[in-house]
């Protein structure tokens, strides 16, 4: 599942048309869906983004990508250029955020600064937007960090105010579509179960579940462990495997 959060309808309409998304909700936030794709129009500004994203992403499965696509200003980048965001700064925020750059991504990446008022000075060589920080801060509460993506289209700059900008997110479609197909598929993690005859403490169950999760994510075969007849033997076998194949997680 991919959820796209876009601030305004102007940015969203090329995607709605291209993917033939159908409106499934009008209020409190317009939501459009089709198969494994959903798009929510959040409204401009960080408060609107937080409200809409919390309302929408809370009902999604944990194995979903959450993507923010939108306009951003830049001092010198050409209009219509598309960037993936590699760090998000905000004045007064406790710390910056660093979105993961996906495995096969060839999109150029750039830092983003989120501002509360439309930017006119563009004092740094960064992307400027109004929702990126709020988007990431909200999304990270619901999905793993590696599944949060921000793609920005340069729409304005110091000599090209947004009102007179001819850029449409439609120009970003040919860049973003092949790129979105390179996103790795997400598996649905299953909580491990243990035979009732295995006497494991709550802590042992949590530790075993953690090791099993890492091993599954990295494709390590745990079949020898499950041949154990007792919980203690299982834990010993699991420890041996994790120490040899996953030393950093053991």
């Amino acid at each position: 599942m991919i959820l796209i959060a876009i601030a305004c309808m102007l940015e969203a309409s090329p995607f709605l048309t291209h993917f033939s998304l159908k409106k499934t909700q009008n209020s409190p936030f317009p939501l459009y869906e089709r198969e494994s794709l959903a798009l929510v129009v959040t409204g401009i500004g960080e408060h609107a983004m937080i409200a809409a994203l919390s309302h929408t992403v809370g009902s999604l499965a944990k194995n979903s990508y959450v993507v923010n696509i939108g306009y951003a200003g830049h001092r010198s980048a050409p209009l219509g250029a598309v960037y993936s965001v590699n760090s998000i700064l905000k004045e007064g925020a406790k710390s910056a955020f660093y979105p993961h750059i996906s495995g096969k991504s060839t999109l150029p990446s750039m830092p983003l600064r989120s501002v509360t008022q439309p930017e006119s000075l563009f004092s740094e060589e960064l992307l400027y937007d109004m929702e990126g920080h709020a988007f990431f801060e909200t999304a990270k509460r619901f999905v793993p960090l590696e599944q949060i993506i921000l793609w920005k289209v340069v729409s304005d700059g110091p000599k090209r105010p947004f009102e007179r900008s001819p850029v449409s997110t439609e120009r970003a479609l040919p860049v973003l579509l092949p790129h979105s197909e390179t996103l790795p598929p997400l598996s649905c993690p299953k909580e491990p179960t243990f035979p009732p005859s295995w006497r494991l403490t709550h802590t042992q169950r949590l530790q075993a579940a953690r090791s099993i999760r890492f091993a599954n994510e990295l494709g390590v075969d745990l079949a020898p462990c499950y041949r154990a007849k007792t919980g203690r033997a299982f834990l010993r076998a699991l420890q041996e495997i994790t120490e040899t194949t996953l030393p950093e997680y053991a």
Partner: protein
């Protein structure tokens, strides 16, 4: 595909950092205040992370050399 290198701002000008960066032809360099903003964060997807591991250049801190205990 360019390598991703996170560099703490306080070490970006050090000669060792510059020498390290010269090993890469066209890296994506991302500056951070502290390596813990990136490393070992909560709520991670390890499979996706392993598909594109990144470098972190950071400075060790705290007492790196401890005095020998008097009883030793």
């Amino acid at each position: 595909m360019p390598e991703i290198i996170y560099i703490e701002k306080r070490v970006q000008t050090l000669p060792r950092t510059q020498a390290f960066l010269r090993r890469f032809s066209n890296p994506t360099v991302i500056f951070c205040d502290h390596y813990k903003e990136i490393f070992n964060r909560r709520n991670q997807n390890f499979r996706l992370q392993k598909e594109r591991p990144a470098w972190i250049v950071a400075q060790k801190e705290g007492s790196l050399v401890h005095p020998i205990p008097p009883q030793y």
